[in-house]
């Protein structure tokens, strides 16, 4: 049988970082093909190439057995590739029906300028029903739940006569009930003969929905097999590889007795509720939970960047009144935000000034002192750069993260709030970031670590707090913390 999509020997580099190396991948008609791998393994890059968003540096793409070149998002769509992105690409103000037909409303009249609303809504209703979800297509997408919005996106792919639908971690923000409905929709796609590429982190889902599975690691394909022939242990071993064990090698941080950070009854309506915890000197406390559990919101509120309604904070035993990031910084806190680009960096500005901005607050700029301090941190953190004047946008993700860290080291922070510190960072740099986090703790800092990579939390943290729907659902000591125990709490189960 001719594969529907075949990718051969794909290579892609970003600057000095190899995202994909000689990856071959195929999808057969009507199959659900799971694509798994850790963050940064190259899943999204591969799919962006398949859907024409990125051009490969080397390799061939075949569709229905015929070679395609110069693929663009538009031609990919015309060929029949639909992409359901993790960040949904819908217009919230428009109705579900309008979103489904966006860009190609069925029209009437000579000039094709009269929109036929009844036709749009009728067809939209039918598509949504086919996916097992009766839903009023006149409702604004912004009013729908995340799960419903996802179905709208899938319906849009179907309306485009898609023969292949790519889903990028579709269950990341779904409740279990909604996830079950999504699997049902995937089943119906398959019945119609539509192929699905299903990107996921969650192993359980591979066995629930996939016919075959391909594992990527560090930009290479390590395995492709029928889901039934690949037991979970083997799958995990393929994903993690041997290198991962070494990633976390290193001494344990010894937590002291002194309380560095204490939080009591921290609440902000709709985001988090009654959060209380403490972190001791030298301790790393992991904060686990699903996307949307309120972790990022909690960190930003603790740092004064978002408001909170109730709750108190003590730093080194002294009550701290934190109303703005300035207050937080003065009290000795540091936030390493989840999104470096939008919250952390001044991309076009020189490295030097990204590093000193938070600590050099005297009226006059002392250029020489700033240069020296930056130079010292470049050495200390082994930052790969041409020097203090280099704009940070030219650095790799790992080095950019080090720039943010350097900023807080200069500010002499004592309490570090890390939000997804290794997101979008390649494996080598990850290990360095872990090492820096450990070193911070060993030097007596208190660390709060939010990460969606469970393995990261389990390996670095002395204690794990699990959040579920804005509350702390439970606390696990290092010995008790396992992937299953965390997931049980994170999804609303009991300890």
């Amino acid at each position: 049988m001719t594969p529907l999509l075949e990718m051969q020997g794909i290579r892609k580099r970003f600057g000095g970082v190899t995202a994909l190396e000689d990856v071959s991948f195929e999808v057969r008609p009507g199959e659900v093909h799971a694509l798994v791998g850790e963050n940064g393994a190259g899943k999204s890059t591969l799919m962006n190439i398949a859907s024409g968003v990125l051009a490969p540096d080397a390799g061939r793409i075949l569709w229905d057995g015929a070679a395609v070149s110069g693929l663009s998002p538009r031609t990919a769509q015309q060929m029949g590739i639909g992409f359901v992105h993790q960040e949904l690409a819908l217009v919230p103000q428009l109705s579900a029906g309008e979103n489904i037909f966006l860009g190609r409303h069925p029209c009437a009249g000579r000039a094709r300028c009269w929109v036929r609303w009844e036709r749009i809504h009728e067809q939209a209703r039918r598509l949504l029903e086919e996916l097992g979800r009766p839903l009023d297509p006149r409702r604004a997408v912004g009013e729908l739940s995340v799960g419903e919005q996802q179905l709208v996106e899938i319906a849009r792919a179907l309306a485009f006569q898609a023969r292949l639908v790519i889903m990028d971690e579709p269950t990341a923000a779904l409740s279990e009930h909604e996830a079950a409905r999504l699997f049902e929709a995937v089943g119906r796609l398959k019945q119609r003969g539509v192929s699905v590429i299903y990107i996921t982190h969650r192993l359980k889902e591979v066995y629930q929905v996939a016919d075959r599975v391909t594992v990527l690691r560090d930009g290479r394909r390590v395995a492709t097999a029928a889901a039934g022939e690949l037991p979970p242990e083997t799958l995990v071993r393929h994903m993690v590889g041997r290198a991962a064990k070494e990633q976390f090698a290193g001494g344990r941080s010894a937590a002291g007795a002194e309380e560095m950070l204490r939080v009591e009854g921290f609440s902000a309506r709709g985001r988090f509720e009654g959060v209380s915890f403490a972190v001791r000197r030298g301790e790393i406390v992991g904060l686990a939970g699903l996307v949307g559990a309120g972790r990022t919101e909690l960190l930003e509120a603790l740092f004064g960047a978002a408001p909170h309604e109730a709750g108190r904070v003590w730093i080194e035993g002294r009550p701290a009144e934190i109303r703005s990031p300035r207050d937080a910084i003065r009290a000795g806190m540091a936030l390493i935000p989840d999104d470096r680009k939008s919250k952390g960096l001044f991309a076009a500005a020189p490295l030097k000034w990204n590093v000193v901005l938070a600590s050099e607050r005297g009226f006059r700029i002392r250029a020489e002192r700033e240069r020296q301090k930056t130079q010292r941190l470049i050495g200390e953190l082994r930052l790969r750069t041409t020097g203090p004047e280099e704009p940070v946008m030219r650095l790799s993700g790992g080095n950019q993260q080090k720039v943010v860290l350097a900023r807080w080291l200069l500010a002499e922070a004592k309490v570090f709030l890390f939000d997804e510190p290794t997101r979008g960072i390649d494996v080598g740099a990850k290990a360095e970031i872990y090492e820096i986090i450990r070193r911070l703790a060993a030097r007596g800092a208190a660390v709060v670590l939010v990460s969606s990579e469970l393995e990261e939390v389990l390996n670095l943290a002395d204690r794990v707090l699990v959040m579920h729907r804005g509350r702390i659902a439970g606390e696990l000591l290092r010995e008790q913390a396992s992937e299953e125990a965390v997931m049980r709490l994170a999804t609303g189960g009991v300890q």
Binding site: L357, R361, F363
Partner: protein, 324 residues
């Protein structure tokens, strides 16, 4: 290490951004000196400087705001109201120094109001409060004068617009002085650097502990202050407080900043570039006058230059982006 493959082309692109406007100005001057024998004379050049002075002053204020990724549409109207209030104070018997303070104070205060409206009312974009201020200030200037100019100002006040020091027009010295002040402020002080940080990434600046609201209010107050300074120079030159003074000047000041290489998206811009931008506009008008091009066509040419200047910058950035 520093001499990597992209280094020289990167440096060239960097140099083009920093000195591109200066180069354009030099080429224009060269061309005009060949086309007209009157262009390259001391009298004519001083004339260009004098005519560019008010725009240069407004552009300095506008630069500070554009660096924060903002825009100030009210500078022309604030100039008008400052003119009128200073003239009224002088007519009521205030000393020239007091008149000066009235003009500068009015400008800075109204600018600060812009900043407060933008930050504290959390209006979505500075376009809104400054558009409002543009109308309010102009309206007040007309209300207070009934639409008539207030003429015959005392000589001591007129000095800044019409006087000379050793043959150099006083407005030129005012511009040079403010340029130095603004240059030092933007490059040597942390509040100045904070403005670039806010324009580069407001959220990141906030998370670095930059007092974002305070700095923005400062930026708009400085822009208003420069409108007040422009009012002093213009009222001096025209010997009157004219309620319609500065009408449309906000757009000229924005044009000068953009021609001078600042980015509309914030975080980028220099005093030298802005000064050159204002001079390019002045030289262009002067040169077209010398070549007997009608004022109507001058407007067309200036419009085209604005678009071309930004287009060159876009092409340059795209080239730089594809290399890295």
């Amino acid at each position: 290490m520093r001499g990597g493959p992209g280094f020289w082309s990167r440096t060239a692109s960097e140099a083009l951004r920093r000195f591109g406007p200066l180069l354009a100005l030099a080429i224009m001057c060269l061309a005009l000196s060949l086309l007209s024998e009157h262009f390259l004379t001391v009298d004519n050049l001083l004339n260009v400087f004098r005519q560019s002075a008010v725009n240069a002053l407004l552009a300095l204020g506008q630069l500070v705001v554009i660096i924060t990724a903002g825009i100030d549409l009210s500078v022309g109207s604030i100039l008008g109201l400052s003119c009128v209030l200073a003239a009224m104070a002088l007519k009521a018997g205030a000393s020239p120094a007091a008149g000066l303070l009235v003009a500068l104070g009015t400008g800075a205060a109204l600018g600060a109001v812009n900043g407060v409206l933008f930050t504290k009312l959390k209006l979505p974009h500075p376009f809104i409060p400054t558009l409002g201020m543009m109308n309010v200030a102009r309206g007040l200037a007309l209300v207070m004068t009934g639409g008539f100019p207030i003429s015959e100002l005392p000589g001591g006040f007129r000095y800044w617009g019409a006087g000379t020091v050793a043959g150099v027009p006083a407005p030129v010295l005012v511009v040079v002085g403010f340029c130095l002040l603004f240059h030092v402020f933007l490059t040597r002080t942390t509040p100045g650097r904070d403005l670039y940080a806010i324009g580069g990434n407001r959220q990141a600046a906030l998370l670095c502990g930059v007092p974002v609201d305070g700095r923005l209010i400062l930026a708009y107050a400085l822009s208003g202050l420069m409108a007040g300074a422009g009012a002093v120079v213009l009222a001096g030159r025209m010997n009157s407080g004219f309620p319609l003074a500065g009408a449309g000047a906000e757009l000229d000041s924005i044009a000068a900043v953009i021609i001078g290489g600042a980015s509309f998206f914030g975080g980028v811009g220099t005093v030298l570039g802005t000064l050159v931008g204002a001079l390019i506009m002045g030289v262009l008008r002067n040169g077209l006058n010398l070549l007997n091009v009608s004022a109507y066509w001058q407007t067309v040419v200036i419009g085209a230059v604005i678009v071309a200047a930004v287009w060159v910058d876009v092409v340059r950035q795209r080239a730089a982006g594809s290399r890295s």
